[in-house]
């Protein structure tokens, strides 16, 4: 037993654990600051104290995870996954409705959010599935089955609805990319993003059309997009060698038609699917004028809080924007505002740097594995972290739409902290076993 523990402490990646611990402690300090003075709204001992308790629980959980053989997680992946799917279904039925979404189980004064655990379970499941012998990525069956594994939990979460977590599931595309998914998929994704943004930007305005009068600027965009696309298609056709022409034509026209359909879908969705406040949030992000002065209330105040921090910040627990309730959700999704306001540019840069270091470290861990399972799982951890990092901080900096999604280890909330503890605990244990794995 003692020899085993000795080996574990020797093999454990202290860098990762240290970064995680540092982030948790920094996060807690900010939660304390964000909730300390807002006694008009919340009971002070409540949030910071609860979070401290969750941290203790997670410390125990982490130690427990490190003590469990990695093989256990590999073998029970399917069970975790199935359990989470059941929970996700159950929460749709018996969940507590908070802020329009049914994503919580209420247990006394605490709440549990199954979607936080779904990320870990799905990461285990996809790692197990892809690392099994005889399931090469390039077969269509494997690809489709992978899609189903990722799509099922994402679908249930979408029904809650919790767009932020669904977006996180989108991060699994990076895992698949590492395992052989064509890079073109990422490029097409970027292309679609550009088309989508242009559709919204141009569709929000109106244009004057000859003979027809004024109408949405979108039709103008659609016509330009179609004719330019055809022109490019024809030019490419002329420029390529005859033997490649057929393939080029097929790909090109698929992209053009797909892009047109996607654009039309986005435009229709903006007008008919999204509710007014959601449409306004997107418009605010893209810098389109919105009549409603409250549309950008959250993000305006979040940016004011961060921007007012200056180089060194206003000092811990001394930022009036966070202390006096100007920033909404300031201890959860908008926790980075507290960092920006109170710790300034230097502190924010350090926090961003710590996250980047942690993610890069996880990528290093991933590539040093002999076990394919561990490698895929590590990529899943990095991707989930990356999505949270990108969407959360992007949101408070006004670079991404306002989507409720916590900042890992920083935001107040037991489920989130526990979910990420699970994610990293399993990773650390698997990594510590890297020399004992033969596969």
């Amino acid at each position: 037993m003692s020899a085993r523990n000795l080996r574990l402490t020797a093999q454990l990646d202290w860098t990762t654990l240290g970064l995680v611990l540092l982030l948790v402690v920094l996060g807690w300090l900010n939660v304390v600051s964000a909730t300390a003075e807002a006694d008009v709204v919340w009971d002070m001992t409540g949030k910071a104290g609860k979070q401290l308790m969750w941290m203790a629980v997670c410390a125990v959980l982490m130690m427990g995870l490190l003590a469990i053989e990695g093989e256990f997680f590999i073998r029970t992946s399917v069970i975790h996954y199935a359990l989470v799917l059941l929970l996700l279904m159950a929460v749709l039925v018996v969940g507590k409705k908070v802020g329009g979404a049914r994503s919580w189980f209420g247990v006394g004064s605490f709440g549990i959010q199954p979607s936080e655990f779904a990320k870990t379970a799905t990461a285990l499941m996809i790692s197990w599935f892809l690392s099994r012998d005889g399931r090469p990525w390039h077969t269509l069956a494997t690809r489709l089955q992978s899609m189903v594994i990722l799509g099922l939990p994402a679908g249930f979460i979408l029904l809650q609805p919790d767009a932020g977590t669904v977006l996180v599931f989108g991060g699994f595309v990076f895992v698949l990319y590492r395992e052989g998914l064509s890079g073109n998929v990422l490029l097409v994704g970027v292309g679609l993003l550009v088309v989508g943004v242009l559709t919204i930007l141009i569709g929000a305005g109106t244009s004057e059309y000859p003979w027809l009068g004024e109408a949405s600027g979108y039709w103008w965009f659609l016509v330009t997009f179609a004719s330019l696309g055809s022109l490019v298609l024809w030019l490419v056709h002329e420029a390529t060698l005859p033997r490649n022409r057929k393939r080029m034509r097929r790909w090109g026209s698929t992209l053009l038609v797909g892009g047109l359909i996607f654009s039309a879908g986005i435009h229709w969705g903006m007008e008919h699917v999204l509710q007014r406040h959601q449409r306004e949030r997107i418009h605010v992000l893209l810098g389109i004028d919105v009549d409603n002065p409250d549309a950008d209330y959250n993000i305006r105040h979040a940016k004011a809080a961060i921007g007012s921090g200056g180089l060194l910040g206003k000092g811990w627990a001394s930022g009036p924007m966070t202390a006096y309730g100007f920033v909404p959700e300031q201890e959860t999704d908008f926790i980075f505002c507290t960092v920006g306001e109170e710790w300034g540019f230097l502190g924010s840069t350090v926090v961003v740097g710590l996250f980047v270091l942690l993610m890069l470290r996880v990528l290093v861990l991933a590539e040093r594995q002999r076990s394919q399972f561990t490698r895929i799982y590590a990529y899943a951890v990095a991707s989930i972290m990356f999505m949270h990092f990108m969407v959360n901080i992007g949101m408070v900096l006004g670079l991404a739409p306002v989507i409720g999604i916590p900042l890992p280890f920083f935001s107040y909330g037991g489920s989130s902290l526990m979910g990420f503890t699970l994610l990293f605990g399993i990773l650390l244990r698997l990594d510590a076993e890297r020399f004992s794995v033969l596969r």
Binding site: E37, V40, P136, H138, F174, Y177, R178, E179, G180, G183, P293, R300, H301, K303, A304, A305, I306, G307, S308, G309, G310, L311, P320, M321, A323, Y324, G325, F326, G340, E341, G344, F345, S348, T349, V352, G353, F355, V356, M359, L360, L363, A366, E367, Y379, A382, F386, F389, M390, I393, G394, L397, L399
Partner: protein, 611 residues
């Protein structure tokens, strides 16, 4: 097509680069938001820091004896914070505030546009009574609160035109001086505007941090400062004389200016009709202002400094003085009253200077003027007139005519003293002679003077050849008279020449046939001169200037009553009442006072029949 696992390992770098790239973008974005611009910092300060301006007490206005003229009084503005208001019953609120519901809604919208979180005024300057009523109902309307501010109160409602208005700064004021913010008050006219810098004091400031509900959470005391009150303004006015003069002129159009000859200090400064300046504060300001502005007698027009009138006969003394100084006449010079060339009045055939003044003999001063414009026997009549006018204008201007008199009084006009180029412009060079413009010799014609000029003339005569530029301010904040105020000016006529003029002016009052006999005062020997100025088809303007007592004069004044009749009929008795009041502190001529006080237009019954 299977990719080699070595190729796939390279993808680690691409993913790592993406992580690094996003991190870098965030750091750049943070740099742009936190370091390169203060935009967000200012925004946060606007949200979290509230500066409460502590308005200083504005300086008071006192009369020359320290009697309070203008003081500060509390007034109440109803403020609204739109965010706290919620769904409000505008009908009920409108009925409580006594405003139109539509108007109320538009004001509420305007407040929302300014700020949803900060208070903006909904109704300004409620009276104490309105405030008391409203405060009972206020609890029903969240988001409404009362802000106390200070407004001006003219204690006796005197001298309103000269003291001027203190009211809300307009857009132009805000652009000119960034010390003022929307809703601040400042002196807009008269002395309130002229001495704004001294009166306003320095505001203090108290910094608060507020939370999202606009509750004050903490104070930043290290930045706070206390307000410094404005300086008190001690005026030269004598409040008793001013009040009496305003009372005497009630129901009439005209002006009274009284000076202390030895100092140039203005003792009374009345433009009639006058009004009570307190009408122009409070919720009723707009209505009161409109009725004043549209009144046919123009009460807002300060006749004492802006009314330009022909001086009439009182100007004859100036003519006599400069002619004596130039040696053109002597007190013994006798001139025949030739009524063929210009009309005259009273029974006399040939007068010396004294009698010419007493009789106000027009041919005498016609001849004096003719001699002044014929000083070059070698030149023809055109050149003589032109050269003579140049000489004459110089001397007249030394009496302050045609100038603003330099005493820094608000809104003064210079009037007009025609010179040779003035006539050149009208008639052409060498196209005019003395015959063309002789009417200025008796203070008619093109000459234009204000009641202030005429009072100043009385002071010059009283002082025998000099005056101090008339001014209204005695002291600012205990620091004495502002530097440069009230220069000593010599008019260039020797004191000896004033003796016959004084004799004549005393006779005007004391001679049983004198035109100013109705101004006689028992026990006070003083000097005066009437004037009766034609005003087209309307009744003549009644003019009087005087100083008293003759020896060691204490007061010099001019009285101008528009379309009242002869100078001796109205202006002279008014002046006598004022003189007695000022010198003795009481009025013995009760019949005279009753006649003046009870008078209404038309004052001259001769003109009652005229259309």
């Amino acid at each position: 097509m299977e990719l080699k696992s070595r190729d796939l390992e390279g993808r680690q770098k691409i993913l790592g680069a993406m992580v690094l790239g996003v991190g870098l973008i965030f750091i750049l974005r943070l740099f742009a938001m936190q370091i390169t611009t203060s935009h967000w910092k200012n925004k946060a300060e606007r949200l979290t820091e509230e500066q409460e301006t502590l308005q200083p007490a504005r300086g008071l206005c006192l009369d020359r004896h320290g009697v309070l003229l203008v003081t500060n009084a509390p007034s109440y503005d109803l403020m609204v914070v739109p965010r706290l208001m919620g769904d409000v019953d505008t009908t009920a609120l409108a009925s409580i505030l006594h405003v139109d519901e539509e108007e109320l809604v538009s004001r509420l919208n305007k407040a929302s546009r300014y700020s949803r979180y900060k208070a903006s005024p909904l109704v300004r300057q409620l009276s104490s009574r309105e405030y008391a009523q409203l405060s009972l109902e206020l609890w029903k309307f969240p988001g409404l609160s009362i802000r106390t501010r200070s407004v001006r109160q003219n204690v006796q409602g005197l001298a309103s035109q000269i003291i001027g208005e203190y009211r809300e700064a307009d857009r132009e004021d805000l652009n000119r001086d960034d010390r003022y913010q929307l809703g601040d008050y400042l002196g807009k006219s008269g002395l309130e505007a002229q001495y704004e810098l001294q009166l306003r004091g320095t505001p203090g400031v108290r910094h608060h941090l507020v939370d999202v509900r606009n509750n004050v959470r903490s104070t930043l005391t290290e930045l706070d400062s206390m307000p410094v009150p404005g300086s008190d303004l001690t005026l030269t006015l004598d409040v008793q004389l001013q009040a009496y003069a305003e009372a005497l002129l009630e129901g009439k159009r005209g002006a009274v200016v009284a000076l202390e000859p030895s100092t140039g200090e203005v003792l009374a400064f009345v433009s009639a009709p006058s009004y009570n300046g307190n009408l122009l504060t409070g919720t009723g300001r707009g209505e009161a202002y409109d009725s004043l502005a549209s009144h046919p007698w123009k009460p807002l027009y300060n006749r004492a400094v802006r009314g330009t009138y022909r001086p009439g006969s009182i100007f004859k003394m100036v003519q006599g003085l400069i002619a004596m100084e130039a040696g053109i006449i002597s007190p013994r010079t006798t001139i025949v009253c030739n009524r063929d060339i210009i009309g005259c009045h009273g029974a006399h055939t040939a007068d010396d200077l004294k009698h010419a003044v007493v009789h106000s003999c027009n041919p005498y001063f016609y001849e004096v003027m003719r001699r002044m414009l014929s000083q070059h026997p070698d030149k023809d009549k055109f050149d003589n007139a032109r050269l003579g006018m140049g000489w004459w204008t110089d001397r007249i201007e030394r009496f302050g005519f045609g100038t603003d008199l330099g005493g820094n009084l608000p809104g003064t006009r210079s009037g007009l003293v025609p010179d040779s180029s003035y006539y050149d412009n009208i008639y052409g060079r060498r196209h005019w002679t003395f015959r063309t413009m002789y009417s200025i010799s008796i203070g008619e014609g093109e000459l234009l003077t204000t009641p202030l000029h005429m009072a100043n003339l009385a002071a010059i005569v009283a002082n025998q050849g000099w005056y101090i530029e008339p001014h209204l301010v005695r002291d600012i904040g205990g620091r004495g008279k502002p530097e440069g105020l009230g220069q000593h000016i010599d008019v260039g006529v020797s004191a000896e020449h004033f003796e016959p003029i004084h004799d004549a002016m005393q006779a005007v009052i004391e001679d049983p046939t004198g035109t100013g006999r109705r101004a006689k005062l028992p026990g006070i020997s003083y000097c005066g001169k009437t004037g009766t100025v034609q005003d087209g088809p309307r009744a003549d303007h009644s003019v009087f200037m005087a100083f008293a007592p003759r020896d060691n004069p204490q007061i010099a004044l001019s009285v101008y009553v528009e379309n009242a009749g002869a100078g001796g009929e109205w202006a002279a008795p008014i002046a006598s009442l004022l003189i007695e009041q000022y010198l003795t502190g009481k009025v013995s001529q009760e019949t005279r006072e009753r006649r003046i006080m009870g008078a209404t237009y038309p004052l001259d019954p001769q003109f009652a029949q005229r259309p």
